[in-house]
């Protein structure tokens, strides 16, 4: 079942990836990656009543490819700093786009963060029913919007 936030997020993720990262993804059907994803990034929308987190998880292969596209360099030239920086920008732009589309006044964007996912860790965002996306039939990442407790 596709819910409201998923429709908004599909639109935002497509727009950001196509415009800035020169990549097109397809949603649904591809399922999660076998070994889970490798990197997480997140940005929070904040207002006086609460916080909403937009979290993304992506495979390393996909992260390296979009970083190379973003910077206009070869994948072999992508450094860990480039990768971290571009995933932060991805979260930042997805958060900004989501905020622009929901048109709720009074919200502001927090600072984006990025982390390497420990292969053995339990990822709680999986429980909330995430939106999977793939690249040429391969799982590339997933996204979820969560209301956070104060």
């Amino acid at each position: 079942m596709i819910s409201g936030w998923q429709e908004v997020l599909k639109d935002v993720i497509s727009d950001v990836l196509e415009t800035m990262f020169f990549s097109m993804v397809e949603f649904g059907d591809c399922g999660p990656a076998d070994g889970g994803f490798d990197f997480g990034s997140e940005i929070q929308l904040l207002n006086h009543t609460g916080r909403t987190a937009i979290s993304l998880r992506v495979s390393e292969i996909f992260a390296r490819m979009i970083t190379a596209n973003f910077l206009g360099i070869e994948e072999s030239q992508v450094t860990d700093d480039d990768l971290s920086d571009s995933l932060k920008e991805l979260a930042n732009m997805v958060g900004g786009g989501y905020h622009a589309r929901i048109k709720e006044a009074g919200w502001r964007l927090g600072m984006p963060k990025v982390w390497k996912i420990d292969p053995g860790s339990v990822d709680t965002t999986q429980l909330a029913g995430e939106l999977d996306f793939g690249f040429f039939g391969e799982p590339a990442g997933s996204a979820v919007v969560n209301q956070l407790p104060d």
């Binding site: 727009d15 950001v16 415009t19 800035m20 970083t67 973003f70 910077l71 206009g72 700093d81 480039d82 920086d85 571009s86 932060k88 920008e89 930042n92 732009m93 958060g95 900004g96 786009g97 905020h99 622009a100 006044a105 009074g106 919200w107 502001r108 964007l109 600072m111």
Partner: protein
């Protein structure tokens, strides 16, 4: 730092202010592709660093992020105007900000405009050329003439 002033009668020195090194690189590349008459391009990672650069350099146009550590975009433009640094140098914000109140605040503080991320090179080129007083026809002619990609 980079330069690109193919076919320009006058090239503009630009200062890019953003805490993301990748975003600064992308903005520089975008300026080079947009048909904008780019002279020297300097970079700062926050508003404070930008103020220090502006003390000693002539800059024609400033492109700045809003959300930055140390000194954010609002603090930066406030300092520019309060201290009368660089007088009327146009400041254009490149931002994911969607909060109308904050965007209006930037404009009220003297920003010349803002560009929402994600952006396309031609949007940036068109806005910046308009701010610098060039006509669209002139910019398009130069863009085609100087096209090397």
């Amino acid at each position: 730092m980079g330069t690109s002033h193919k076919g320009c009668a006058m090239a503009y020195n630009v200062l890019i202010v953003d805490d993301s090194k990748s975003m600064r690189k992308v903005l520089l590349k975008t300026l080079q592709l947009s048909g904008f008459c780019l002279g020297e391009c300097l970079e700062a990672s926050n508003g404070q660093e930008a103020l220090e650069i502006l003390e000693g350099r002539w800059i024609d146009l400033i492109l700045s992020d809003v959300h930055m550590p140390v000194m954010d975009g609002i603090g930066f433009i406030q300092s520019l105007r309060d201290k009368d640094i660089c007088g009327d140098t146009p400041v254009v914000f490149v931002t994911t900000e969607a909060n109308e109140e904050r965007l209006n605040q930037l404009m009220n503080l003297g920003a010349s405009g803002y560009i929402r991320k994600p952006f396309r090179p031609e949007e940036i080129g068109a806005l910046l050329s308009r701010i610098m007083g060039e006509t669209d026809d002139f910019r398009m002619a130069r863009s085609v003439e100087g096209c090397d990609f």
